[in-house]
C-alpha cells in the first residue's frame, strides 16, 4: 500500500461511500432526491478540485466540460436514440476531448491569464450552444424523459424516473469520482500535481514536464466534470444552456472553496452545505443570497482553507 493511502484514509473513504449508500434507506423523500442531486454536483466539484485544489489552476470555464458531457449525452439520446450507458460514455469522451483541445491552448498561460482564458473559452462554449440553437434548442433546452429508454442490465429494467435509480446512479457516479480523487491524492501523480501547485518552476527543475502533468490534470478534471454533466442529463432529464453559463463555472469554485480545496472530502461537504444553506435560508427570507454571501465572507476571513481544510489544519492532520 502507498504510504499515504493508510488504513485510516481508506477506512474513512469507504465509510463515507457506505454511509451515503445507506442514507437512501433512512432519508425522507425530499432529502433523498436532494442527496442524489448533491452527489452529482459534488462529482462536478470533485472534478474541479483535481485541477484547482491539487494542481493550483483556477478555472472559470469548467461549465464547458459539464456542458460537453451533458450535451453529448443529451443530444445522442434526443436525436440518435442512444441508450443511457452508451450516451453516458459518449458524454465523458466528449468532455475529455474538449479538455484536451482546450488544454493545448490554455495551458500555454498561467495564473490570472489562465483564469481569463478559461472564462473566455467557457463563454465561447455557452454562445456556441446558443448559436446552434436549431440543434441544441438554445436556452430553453430540452427534456429527455420522452426519449430515454430505461437502463437494461440483464433482464432488469431501471427507469430513470424511479427515485432509487436516481439515487444509486448518483451514488455510483460520486463514489467513483471520490475514490478516484483519493487515489490521485495519494499517488505519485498527485504529489507531482501538488508540487506544481506549490511551485511550478521548482517542479520543472526536478525534471518533471509540468505542461504534460497539467494537461493530464485538466483532462481528468474535465472528464469527471463531463461525467457529472452526463449523469445530470440522464438522472434529472433536462439539458439546457444555463448549465454552460458562467454561473455554473463559479459554482464548483465556491463549492470547492467552501468544502476545502485540495481535500477529497471538501467537494461533497461544500456542495451539500451550499445546497442546504440556500434551501433553508430561502424558507426564511427572500434575501437568502445575502445569507449565502455573508457565510462565504465569514469563511474566507476566518476559515480560508474551507470546512474540511480547517478541520485538517486544526484536528485531523491525516485527512487527504
Amino acid at each position: 500500500m502507498n504510504r499515504r493511502l493508510t488504513h485510516k484514509v481508506l477506512l474513512l473513504h469507504l465509510s463515507i461511500v457506505a454511509g451515503l449508500f445507506l442514507a437512501q434507506f433512512f432519508l425522507p423523500e425530499y432529502h433523498h432526491t436532494n442527496l442524489a442531486r448533491i452527489m452529482v454536483l459534488a462529482t462536478f466539484a470533485a472534478g474541479y478540485n483535481v485541477l484547482f485544489g491539487y494542481t493550483g489552476l483556477m478555472s472559470l470555464g469548467h461549465a464547458m466540460f459539464f456542458a460537453a458531457g451533458m450535451y453529448a449525452t443529451g443530444l445522442s439520446v434526443y436525436y440518435l436514440d442512444f441508450g443511457a450507458l452508451s450516451a453516458f460514455f459518449l458524454g465523458i469522451a466528449a468532455a475529455a476531448a474538449v479538455a484536451v483541445l482546450f488544454g493545448l491552448f490554455a495551458l500555454r498561460t498561467s495564473g490570472v491569464s489562465f483564469l481569463i482564458v478559461t472564462m473566455m473559452f467557457g463563454q465561447a462554449c455557452y454562445l456556441t450552444i446558443l448559436y446552434f440553437n436549431t440543434i441544441t434548442l438554445g436556452d430553453q433546452g430540452f427534456t429527455l424523459s420522452n426519449n430515454l429508454a430505461p437502463l437494461e442490465i440483464g433482464q432488469q429494467q431501471f427507469a430513470f424516473s424511479n427515485p432509487s435509480v436516481k439515487f444509486n446512479g448518483a451514488w455510483i457516479l460520486f463514489s467513483i469520482s471520490f475514490v478516484l480523487s483519493m487515489v490521485i491524492a495519494a499517488s505519485p501523480l498527485g504529489r507531482v500535481l501538488v508540487a506544481i501547485r506549490e511551485n511550478d518552476e521548482r517542479t520543472k527543475l526536478l525534471g518533471y514536464n509540468t505542461y504534460l502533468y497539467k494537461l493530464m490534470a485538466l483532462v481528468v478534471s474535465g472528464s469527471i466534470a463531463g461525467a457529472a454533466g452526463a449523469g445530470y442529463a440522464l438522472l434529472f432529464s433536462y439539458v439546457g444552456a444555463s448549465f454552460a453559463a458562467i454561473l455554473y463555472s463559479i459554482y464548483p469554485l465556491l463549492w470547492t472553496l467552501l468544502g476545502g480545496a485540495g481535500t477529497t472530502l471538501g467537494p461533497l461537504i461544500g456542495t451539500g452545505t451550499m445546497f442546504y444553506l440556500i434551501d433553508i435560508a430561502s424558507g426564511y427570507t427572500t434575501a437568502y443570497l445575502f445569507v449565502v454571501g455573508g457565510s462565504l465572507l465569514i469563511l474566507v476571513l476566518w476559515f480560508p482553507k474551507g470546512i474540511v481544510g480547517s478541520i485538517r489544519d486544526r484536528w485531523i492532520k491525516w485527512l487527504p
Binding site: L137, Q140, G141, T143, S161, F236, S237, Y238, G240, T286
Partner: protein, 445 residues
C-alpha cells in the same frame, strides 16, 4: 400607409366599440367599485364559516416564483396577483369549501433550482399542485420532475413548450395563451394594416426563435415576405451595427427585444431612422414593468405593441377587468396604487389570476380531495371546452384545447400615443388558433 389613429376603424371581436369607452368606463368604474368593495373587506370569521360545509384542511398550492434572477420583475407582480386572487377565492368560500394556502418558493429563474423547488413543494411541503412558473427554461427544466412526481403543474408562461407536446401530461397552461397563438393572431392585422414586407429583430435565443419561426411562416402564408431576420446575441449591449442591415424596402419592422437593453435598443433605433421610419410593431414583453413615458422611449410614439391584457384601464373597460385591477392594486395607468413608478406586468400576470380560478374550477368539478384524485382532475381539465369571461377570467373568454393542455384567447394591439398605450384592435380567439401538434391525452397518467 393607412392612418390608424381613428379608433372606430378597429372594431373588436365581441362588438364592444372602442369609441364607446367613456360610457363603459363609467359603468365599469361603478360596478367594479361595488364588486371590489364586496370582495376585499370580508372579516375572516365570516369566510371561515363558509368552510364548515367542506374540510378545514386547506388546498395547498405551491407557487414557484421568480423572486430573484432575470424574472424578478415579473415574479413580483405574479406574487402580488397570486396574493390578491387567493384572498378573493378565500373570501368566496375557498375551493370546494376548503381554504386555499399558497406556499411560495423562489426558483432564482434557474431551471436547476426550478426542478428542486418543484421537488421541495411536492415532497416537503406536500402541496396539492404546483403553479405559477413563467420563464420557459425554468418550466422545461422543472416539468420532467413534476411528471415523475405525478403532480399537476400549472404554468403561466406563454411559451409554446406546453402545446408543442415536449412536456408531459401533468403540465398544463390553461390561464394564458402561448406565443405561437399570439404571433398567429397578430399576423393578419399587421399584414392588413401595416405592410407586407417585414424585417424581424429578435433575441438570439429560444423566445426569439418562436417569434421568428411562427411569424415568418404566417407572413409567407398570407402572401407577404420577410426582408431580413436579425438575431441579436444576448450579450449585445449596443445595436447600432444591426440597423444598417434593415433593407430599405422594409414596410414593417417587427421587434421583440427582452431584457435591460431595451432602452438602448429603442434609443439607437430612433437615432438610426430619425423621422423616416417604417411602421413598427413589437411585443410588450420587452417593456413590461417599464413606463412607456420613460425618457428614451420617445421613438416608440406612433408604433404598435401587442398586449396580452391592456396596461391602461381604458384599454379594456369591462366590469370584471376593473374588479381584477382593483383587487390586484393597479391604478388607471397600470402601475401600483401604492407607487405610481412601479409599473405592472399586466400582459402576463392576469394569467395567475385566471389559473387560480381554473384550479378552483377543476378541483370542484372533479371532486378532488387528495393526490389519489390527480388522474380524475387532469381528465376533468382535459374535458373542459373553455372558460367564460367573468370575474374569474377578466382578460376574456378562453377556448381550452384538452389535447394540448393549452388555452386560446383574445389578444390586444395598442398604439403608443402621448406616452401611453391606446388599444386599437382586439383579435378573436379564432385568429390565434393553429393546427395541434400534440396530444397529451394519449399519455398514461
Amino acid at each position: 400607409m393607412k392612418d390608424q389613429s381613428d379608433k372606430k376603424r378597429f372594431p373588436s371581436s365581441d362588438g364592444i366599440d372602442v369609441s364607446k369607452r367613456s360610457t363603459i368606463k363609467a359603468a365599469a368604474a361603478v360596478t367594479g367599485g361595488l364588486i371590489a368593495a364586496s370582495t376585499t373587506k370580508i372579516p375572516e370569521f365570516l369566510y371561515r364559516s363558509a368552510y364548515a360545509a367542506g374540510s378545514d384542511k386547506p388546498i395547498r398550492v405551491g407557487f414557484q416564483v421568480h423572486r430573484t434572477g432575470i424574472g424578478a420583475l415579473y415574479g413580483r407582480w405574479y406574487e402580488q396577483t397570486t396574493t390578491a386572487v387567493t384572498k378573493l377565492i378565500n373570501e368566496m368560500g375557498g375551493i370546494a369549501g376548503r381554504p386555499v394556502e399558497i406556499i411560495a418558493e423562489d426558483d432564482g429563474t434557474d431551471p436547476k433550482r426550478g426542478a428542486e423547488v418543484v421537488e421541495k413543494l411536492a415532497a416537503q411541503h406536500k402541496v396539492d399542485f404546483v403553479y405559477g412558473t413563467l420563464f420557459s427554461h425554468v418550466v422545461i427544466g422543472s416539468a420532467p420532475r413534476a411528471g415523475e412526481l405525478k403532480i399537476p403543474y400549472f404554468v403561466v408562461s406563454e411559451g409554446y413548450h406546453v402545446a408543442s407536446g415536449k412536456l408531459n401530461r401533468y403540465v398544463a397552461q390553461p390561464g394564458i395563451t402561448d406565443v405561437r397563438a399570439q404571433v398567429t393572431a397578430m399576423s393578419s392585422w399587421v399584414m392588413d394594416n401595416l405592410g407586407k414586407r417585414v424585417t424581424m429583430i429578435f433575441p438570439d435565443y429560444a423566445f426569439g426563435y418562436d417569434h421568428r419561426d411562427f411569424f415568418s411562416a404566417e407572413v409567407e402564408k398570407r402572401g407577404g415576405s420577410i426582408a431580413e431576420l436579425l438575431a441579436i446575441p444576448p450579450t449585445e449591449s449596443s445595436y447600432t451595427k444591426y440597423f444598417p442591415r434593415i433593407p430599405a424596402d422594409t414596410e414593417v419592422l417587427y421587434h421583440v427585444m427582452v431584457g435591460p437593453g431595451v432602452l438602448t435598443f429603442v434609443k439607437e433605433m430612433g437615432e438610426h431612422f430619425g423621422s423616416n421610419r417604417p411602421e413598427i410593431f413589437g411585443f410588450i414583453d420587452s417593456l413590461e414593468g417599464v413606463d412607456i413615458a420613460t425618457p428614451g422611449l420617445e421613438f416608440l410614439e406612433g408604433t404598435y405593441l401587442w398586449e396580452g391584457m391592456p396596461r391602461y384601464a381604458d384599454g379594456y373597460p369591462t366590469e370584471h377587468a376593473a374588479a381584477y385591477r382593483k383587487a390586484v392594486g393597479l391604478d388607471e395607468n397600470g402601475a401600483s396604487v401604492d407607487d405610481p413608478k412601479s409599473v405592472s406586468a399586466n400582459s402576463h400576470m392576469f394569467g395567475c389570476w385566471e389559473t387560480m380560478f381554473i384550479i378552483k374550477e377543476v378541483v370542484e368539478k372533479s371532486g378532488y380531495k387528495d393526490p389519489k384524485d390527480y388522474p380524475a382532475l387532469i381528465e376533468t381539465l382535459e374535458g373542459i371546452p373553455g372558460f367564460a369571461e367573468g370575474l374569474e377570467h377578466p382578460q376574456g373568454e378562453k377556448k381550452f384545447v384538452g389535447q394540448l393542455h393549452q388555452s386560446f384567447g383574445q389578444q390586444f394591439i395598442s398604439k403608443v400615443s402621448n406616452g401611453k398605450l391606446d388599444v386599437v384592435h382586439r383579435t378573436t380567439i379564432a385568429d390565434g388558433m393553429y393546427e395541434p401538434e400534440a396530444d397529451y391525452t394519449t399519455q398514461p397518467l
